[in-house]
């Protein structure tokens, strides 16, 4: 390990970030994989600096899993609105985005490719937070508010491993981080800003996407520094945000846990018998709860209490 402190992206001038992007590429190690980003779009340098602020600024990964290139489209007419394209290994992905929305394009492209190219892992569509070496897995279901909840947990002493992917190594049966900026939408942005005004660092807001306004919450320094630490399955949480509701938490039947994990995963089908056995094991042995809430602080207090109840009997 280097003796000098490694500068983070938020600590170097944005010109250096752009120099990397437009030159040899900017390497990001998100845990289970390494991504190299190239780009000739200046605004992306600022956006990446904000959304990936705590990531090392000068990392050079020996192995790259995803090579991405965000490129300004050549316009026929100068007065047409500038657009950007995302390229992966010489292949164009998606239709063009407005040039000022380069970061959302990069993020969605990364997620799309991770889901398709890492079939060596079982990828749940879930947020994962870790505490004391155990993972709490929150399957992404409509109306769950899992992004808001996991963001708040990540700002409350829990370590965020991923906002989007529950990446289970089938051999070791442990979760690996896929740590990226959490994409929060609409009201969630304000909720989290209010929840942790000092700590919460956001990238720019992007209005007018298909899901409304999107902003990316940067991962904390601790989450970034511990990105290689894996976690054993601890518990499964099915959150449901309901306006005005008191916080309630109820156990969930193992078959329900199985459904919510397996049938909501990105690549469960591809993992075959191994994936089946892994999900059955988690459903059988891990505690699983349905949490209904409207107040974030109260929900976290309830989860803290449940967590202690979970940990003590295990003697951890």
């Amino acid at each position: 390990m280097a003796s000098a402190p490694v500068p983070r992206l938020c600590e170097v001038p944005v010109s250096e970030v752009f120099q990397r992007l437009s030159g040899a590429g900017l390497d990001l190690c998100v845990g289970a994989l390494n991504v190299r980003v190239h780009s000739n779009v200046r605004s992306l340098a600022e956006q990446v600096q904000a959304a990936y602020g705590q990531f090392p600024a000068r990392h050079r990964a020996p192995w790259i899993d995803l090579h991405l290139n965000v490129v300004l489209r050549r316009q026929l007419h100068r007065w047409w609105k500038p657009q950007v394209d995302l390229w992966h290994d010489g292949r164009l992905l998606f239709e063009p985005f407005p040039a000022e929305a380069a970061l959302p394009l990069l993020e969605w492209g990364m997620n799309w490719l991770i889901a398709r190219t890492r079939n060596d892992l079982l990828l749940f569509h879930a947020a994962v937070v870790e505490r004391q070496g155990l993972a709490m897995v929150m399957p992404a279901l409509p109306g769950s508010g899992k992004s808001t909840l996991s963001a708040a947990l990540g700002l409350s002493g829990w370590r965020l491993m991923s906002d989007e992917f529950g990446a289970l190594d089938l051999g070791e049966r442990r979760f690996r981080a896929v740590l990226k900026p959490a994409a929060l939408k609409n009201e969630s942005i304000a909720v989290i800003r209010k929840f942790a005004p000092e700590q919460a660092r956001f990238g720019p807001s992007f209005p007018g996407t298909r899901k409304g306004t999107v902003a990316h919450l940067a991962a904390s320094a601790e989450a970034v520094d511990r990105v290689h630490e894996t976690a054993a399955p601890g518990c499964v949480l099915l959150p449901r945000w309901k306006a005005g509701s008191p916080t309630t938490i109820e156990p969930v039947a193992p078959t329900m846990t199985f459904s919510k994990l397996a049938f909501n995963a990105f690549n469960y089908a591809v993992t075959g018998a191994e994936g089946f056995e892994a999900v059955a094991e988690i459903s059988r042995s891990a505690k699983a709860w349905q949490l209904v809430y409207s107040d974030l602080d109260e929900a976290i207090r309830v989860l803290d209490a449940r967590w202690h109840g979970l940990i003590e009997p295990n003697g951890v």
Partner: protein, 370 residues
């Protein structure tokens, strides 16, 4: 910028005997291999070749996870294909006609070495034209549905093409392509399907047959030569090489009469093209007498001068750090025009191309998901 397949160490590794020594491969070599092979849909075959050679421990962790990922994907897609055809076979039991597996499914049913590491998305089967309507009805009862087509496309398929519009089933992720011939009846090249049906052979899957090995190779070459999107289809050369190596070794009736059969089916030029490219890029062993016969039916020197470079350009992989290659795009356009010219006369081609141009192509960039 186009890459020369001869520079791809991993390509040679697929058929290397004795097995290649992977200890000498740097991470940079692996990086190139993974990026290019994945794009060419050959990465799972690389994974299989590595496993077959017992060389997995020599692969560093980074590339290993990519190889493993593609290996899993290929296994899943292959199993889903086999399962779909199992159900299709059951549905067609009452059809009372021969049922023939084509391409990947045929290779799988025969347990050929090129069956491993495939990424099938379609199930291609062949039935006699007379039984087509009966088969469509039986498949419909079993839940296979044809897409909603407008009148023009319906006419195209019914009158001009050699296949029924692709069928889909709620429970199966593969598309079912039901053929009654391997080339359309309208167009400059006619192939009498009866010639193919006369030489069917049993496969390893009960109820299903396969084409004679010579016809399997010829189908493979004509499929490449007349496909709408031949760009970077190096894997078809790998398949042809695999067929020639395996059948050349296991079947005494493979090489003799192959060129004559190609002449009978009107496929001498595609055969010459594929054999030439396979020998160049994969060092396919072809017996001297066959090469002599092929040179007798080879295209003229003038024609060769533009045809061969055109196809080399079409099939060669594009540098993954570049964004496309204009020469390949141009070659693809020429091939596309030729493809359609072969499928229907010019007077019908123009309205058809105009019609196709108005609809979004199937492989257009995917809409970003949210």
């Amino acid at each position: 910028m186009l890459l020369d397949p001869l520079d791809a160490r991993w390509l040679a590794m697929l058929t290397a005997s004795p097995p290649a020594d992977l200890n000498g491969w740097s991470l940079e070599d692996w990086q190139r291999c993974v990026r290019v092979a994945r794009r060419l849909r050959l990465l799972a075959r690389v994974a299989h070749a590595v496993k077959r050679q017992g060389a997995w421990p020599m692969v560093p962790a980074g590339p290993a996870r990519q190889l493993q990922a593609e290996h899993e994907l290929s296994a899943w897609r292959s199993d889903k294909l086999r399962w779909a055809l199992d159900r299709v076979g059951g549905a067609l039991q009452g059809a009372g006609c021969p049922r023939v597996l084509l391409k990947g499914a045929a290779y799988m049913a025969q347990g050929l070495w090129i069956a491993a590491g495939r990424l099938p998305s379609d199930a291609d089967i062949l039935v006699p034209q007379g039984a087509l309507a009966r088969c469509q009805a039986l498949l419909g009862e079993a839940g296979w549905r044809e897409p909603e087509l407008d009148a023009h496309d319906q006419r195209y398929y019914r009158e001009w093409s050699h296949e029924v519009p692709p069928m889909h089933h709620d429970l199966h992720p593969v598309e079912l392509d039901l053929h009654h011939n391997i080339l359309p009846p309208v167009g400059r090249h006619r192939v009498d399907a009866g010639l193919l049906f006369a030489r069917l052979e049993p496969s390893g899957w009960p109820g299903w047959q396969v084409l004679h090995p010579q016809d399997q190779l010829l189908h493979s070459v004509c499929h490449l030569a007349y496909d709408a999107e031949p760009r970077e289809r190096l894997r078809d050369i790998v398949d042809a090489d695999g067929l020639m190596r395996e059948f050349g070794r296991t079947r005494a009736d493979f090489w003799p009469g192959l060129v004559a059969r190609a002449r009978e089916l009107g496929l001498t030029e595609p055969l010459w093209l594929v054999v030439t490219l396979a020998r160049r890029w994969m060092r396919t062993p072809v017996p001297e007498p066959v090469l002599v016969e092929l040179s007798a039916v080879a295209p003229s020197a003038w024609r060769r001068a533009w045809l061969l470079p055109l196809w080399q350009r079409l099939l060669a992989p594009v540098d993954p750090d570049r964004r496309g290659d204009w020469r390949q795009d141009l070659a693809a356009f020429v091939a596309l025009v030729r493809y359609h010219r072969n499928r229907m006369p010019l007077r019908l081609l123009v309205p058809h191309l105009l019609h196709k141009a108005r609809r979004p192509p199937a492989d257009a960039p995917v809409k970003a998901l949210e």
